[in-house]
C-alpha cells in the first residue's frame, strides 16, 4: 500500500538526477535509468497478491480524505496497465543502452523517457480528473520531444503535427473537466460518479463527446488518427515501441475505459459508438497498412488497426469481449513493441527502413529474424501464440452479443493482418540477400536480449494464457463490469 507513490517517485527522482548528473558521464545515466526501470518492472508483481486479498487500494495523498484531496486508486485495471507499462519500459531502456549510442545527449533522452514513464504511471493510478490530466500532459509533452529527438527534418515535422493535435486534444479534455466540475462541484472520479448517477442531459453528452474526441485523439482511433503514422515511425525505435505499445493505450484507451465505464456508466449508444469507431479504425488501419513499404510506417498503421480491435472488444461490453480486449491490450504491447524493436535493429544494422531494399536478413540477423517471425505470427493470431487467444475471446464476445457481422469483419481483418505481416517477412527476412547488405551484422547483445525477452513473453502468454487470465485479467474485467460501482468501492474503502 505504501508502495503506490513509488511508481511516481522513482521515475521522477531518477529523471531529475539523471539530468543533473548525466552531463558528466554517459554510463552513469545508463546505469541509473536501467536500475530505476528494473525496480519499477518488479514492483507491480509484488502488488498482485496483496491486491487480490484487498480488492482495491486507495492511497490518500497528504492524508486528505478522497473528495478533498487527491487519491490514487490501485485496482485490477490499474495493475494490469502498470504491469504492461513498466515491463515494456524496462525492456525498451535495456534496448536503448545500445541503440541510443548513435544519438547525442543521451542523458536528456533518459530524462525524457523516465518522465514519460512517470506520466503514464500517474495516469493509470490517478483517481482524480484533473490529476489525470496533469500526468497525461507530462507523458504527452515528453513524447512530443522524444519524437523529434533525432532533429531531422521529417522528425521535426512529425513532432509538430503530433504536438498540434495533442495540444488540441488536451484542451478539449481540460474543457470537459471544467464542464464536469461546474456541473458537480467535484473533481474526484468516484465522487463525480456518485453525483452523476442516473443523470442525463445535453451537458453530460456534450462533455462525453469532448472526452471521446480528446482521448480518441490521444489513442489515434480512426477519424483522429492522422498524426500517428507520422509520429510513431519518426521516433527512435525504443520510443516507437513505447508509443505504439504503451502510450496510446495508457493515455487513450485506459482513460476512455476508466471514464466511460466507471464514472459515466456504459449505455447502449456509447457501446455502439465505441464499436463503430473501433471497426472503422480496424478496417481502415489494416487496409492502409497493406499499402506501406516503409517498415515502421506499416507497423504504425497496424497499431491503429489493433487499437480498433481493442475498442471493438470493449464496446461489445460482455465478459468475453472485455476480457479479450484487455488481453489484447497486453498482447499488443508485447508484440508491437517487439516488432518496433525489430525494425529498429534492422535500421541499426542496414540503415534503411524501406522493405523493398531489404531481403534475406534472417540469415545475417538470426535473433532479429526469429523474433520478428514470432511477433508477426502472434499479431496475426496464429495459435498457440498469445494474439490468437485475445482475438478468439473478442470474436466470442461479439458473437455472444449478437454482432455477427462485426465478428466476421474481425476475422477478415485478421486475415488482412496476416497478409501484411507476411509481406514484411517476405521482403525483409526471407529470400535472397538484398543489394549492399552483404556486410550486415546482428544487432548488439543488449538489443537482442530485450527482443528475445519480448518474444518469450509472446510465447509464454500464449501457452500460459489461463493463469494470466485468472490472476491478472479477471480482476481488471471485474473492475469494468462493476461499472459505476467503482464509486462506492473507492469512497467506502
Amino acid at each position: 500500500m505504501t508502495l503506490i507513490p513509488l511508481f511516481m517517485v522513482i521515475p521522477l527522482g531518477s529523471a531529475f538526477i539523471v539530468v543533473l548528473l548525466g552531463r558528466f558521464k554517459e554510463t552513469v545515466s545508463d546505469v541509473l535509468a536501467t536500475a530505476a526501470t528494473l525496480m519499477l518492472a518488479i514492483l507491480p508483481f509484488a502488488l498482485i497478491i496483496p491486491l487480490s486479498q484487498e480488492g482495491i487500494f486507495v492511497y490518500r495523498m497528504g492524508r486528505w480524505i478522497p473528495p478533498w484531496g487527491i487519491n490514487l486508486v490501485l485496482d485490477g485495471l490499474s495493475l494490469l496497465m502498470l504491469i504492461i507499462i513498466n515491463l515494456v519500459a524496462f525492456l525498451a531502456i535495456l534496448y536503448s543502452v545500445s541503440y541510443m549510442k548513435k544519438f547525442t545527449a543521451k542523458s536528456t533522452y533518459y530524462g525524457l523517457f523516465l518522465l514519460m514513464l512517470a506520466g503514464m504511471n500517474g495516469v493509470v493510478l490517478s483517481g482524480d480528473f484533473f490529476n489525470l490530466f496533469v500526468f497525461l500532459e507530462i507523458a504527452a509533452i515528453a513524447s512530443y520531444a522524444l519524437v523529434a529527438f533525432g532533429v531531422e527534418a521529417e522528425e521535426l515535422e512529425a513532432s509538430f503535427k503530433y504536438m498540434v493535435m495533442g495540444s488540441v486534444a488536451s484542451v478539449l479534455i481540460l474543457f470537459s473537466i471544467g464542464l464536469i466540475y461546474s456541473l458537480t462541484g467535484s473533481l474526484n472520479m468516484a465522487h463525480v460518479g456518485t453525483i452523476l448517477q442516473g443523470q442525463k442531459g445535453n451537458l453530460i453528452s456534450f462533455s462525453m463527446i469532448l472526452f471521446l474526441a480528446g482521448f480518441g485523439l490521444k489513442a489515434a482511433i480512426m477519424p483522429f488518427h492522422a498524426w500517428l503514422p507520422d509520429a510513431h515511425p519518426s521516433a527512435p525505435a525504443p520510443i516507437s515501441a513505447m508509443l505504439s505499445g504503451v502510450l496510446i493505450k495508457a493515455l487513450g484507451v485506459y482513460a476512455i475505459l476508466r471514464i466511460f465505464f466507471n464514472v459515466f456508466g456504459m449505455n447502449i449508444q456509447l457501446s455502439w459508438i465505441l464499436m463503430i469507431l473501433g471497426a472503422l479504425s480496424m478496417v481502415g488501419g489494416g487496409l492502409l497498412a497493406l499499402k506501406q513499404n516503409d517498415f515502421k510506417r506499416l507497423l504504425a498503421y497496424s497499431s491503429i488497426s489493433q487499437i480498433g480491435l481493442i475498442m471493438l472488444g470493449v464496446g461489445c461490453g460482455n465478459y468475453w469481449g472485455i476480457l479479450g480486449a484487455l488481453f489484447h491490450l497486453f498482447n499488443h504491447a508485447s508484440f508491437k513493441a517487439l516488432l518496433f524493436l525489430n525494425s529498429g535493429a534492422v535500421e541499426y544494422s542496414t540503415g534503411t527502413r524501406e522493405l523493398k531494399k531489404m531481403g534475406g536478413l534472417s540469415k545475417a540477423m538470426p535473433f532479429t529474424g526469429a523474433t520478428s517471425a514470432i511477433g508477426s505470427l502472434s499479431i496475426s493470431g496464429i495459435p498457440p501464440l498469445n494474439g490468437f487467444w485475445s482475438k478468439l475471446f473478442i470474436i466470442m464476445g461479439l458473437i455472444y452479443a449478437g454482432r455477427y457481422v462485426l465478428g466476421v469483419i474481425t476475422i477478415l481483418v485478421s486475415v488482412l493482418t496476416l497478409a501484411y505481416y507476411l509481406k514484411v517477412q517476405r521482403y525483409a527476412f526471407f529470400g535472397k540477400l538484398g543489394e549492399g547488405l552483404e556486410k550486415v551484422k546482428e544487432a548488439p547483445p543488449l538489443m537482442c536480449a530485450s527482443m528475445v525477452a519480448l518474444a518469450i513473453i509472446c510465447i509464454g502468454a500464449g501457452i500460459f494464457f489461463y493463469p494470466i487470465m485468472k490472476i491478472i485479467l479477471e480482476p481488471a474485467v471485474r473492475v469494468l463490469q462493476e461499472g459505476v460501482g467503482y464509486s462506492s468501492l473507492v469512497l467506502g474503502g
Binding site: I141, Y144, A145, L203
Partner: protein, 176 residues
C-alpha cells in the same frame, strides 16, 4: 455589479482573437494576442482571482517575448494564403457553427453564472486556514490539499524545458 465590465472584456478578447487570427502581419497577430492575454488578466482581477491575474500577467509577458523571438527569426512577415481557401473556410465555418449550436444548448444546463455549486470547495473555504495555516486559500489548495498536482505541474515545466533543449540541439545523430 461587475458583470457589464466582464462582458465588455470578453468582447474585447473575442475581437482581439479575431484580429490575431485574420491579420496579415505576424507581428501584429502577436500583439493582438498579447491584448487578449492582458484582457484575460484584467478579467481574472474582476472575478476576484488576484493570484491568477499576477501569474497570467507575468506569463503573458514571457509568452510575448518568446513569440516575438519566433516571429523575428523568420523572414516571412505576412500570412500565407493557400489554394481552395474559400472552400476550406466554408467547411470549417460550417463545422464550427454546428459545434457552437450544440454547445449553446449544452451549456444552458450549467448552474447560472455567479453561483457555483462549491460541493467540495465549501470545506476548503471554511477550514483551509485552520487545517493548513495558509491565509491564501489558493496556495493552501495548491501546495497542501492538491500538492500532488503541483508536483505534476512543476514536472511538466521541467519536461517541456528538457524537451526544448533536446529539440534545439544542433546535431541529433553522431556521425559514423
Amino acid at each position: 455589479m461587475p458583470e457589464i465590465e466582464l462582458y465588455l472584456l470578453i468582447t474585447l478578447m473575442i475581437v482581439g482573437a479575431l484580429v490575431a487570427v485574420h491579420t496579415r502581419y505576424l507581428i501584429s497577430a502577436v500583439i493582438s494576442l498579447a491584448v487578449v492575454g492582458m484582457a484575460l488578466a484584467v478579467a481574472f482581477l474582476y472575478m476576484q482571482a488576484p493570484d491568477i491575474a499576477i501569474t497570467q500577467i507575468v506569463v503573458e509577458v514571457l509568452a510575448l517575448v518568446i513569440l516575438i523571438i519566433a516571429v523575428s527569426i523568420g523572414k516571412e512577415v505576412v500570412d500565407i494564403k493557400g489554394k481552395w481557401e474559400t472552400l476550406t473556410i466554408g467547411v470549417t465555418v460550417l463545422f464550427v457553427v454546428i459545434f457552437a449550436i450544440f454547445a449553446y444548448r449544452a451549456l444552458a444546463d450549467l448552474p447560472p453564472f455567479g453561483s457555483p455549486l462549491m460541493t467540495v470547495s465549501q470545506r476548503y473555504v471554511e477550514e483551509g486556514l485552520k487545517q493548513t495555516g495558509s491565509a491564501n486559500l489558493v496556495t493552501s489548495i495548491l501546495l497542501d490539499f492538491r500538492a500532488y498536482d503541483t508536483l505534476g505541474e512543476a514536472t511538466i515545466l521541467f519536461t517541456a524545458i528538457l524537451g526544448a533543449f533536446a529539440v534545439l540541439r544542433n546535431i541529433g545523430r553522431k556521425a559514423k
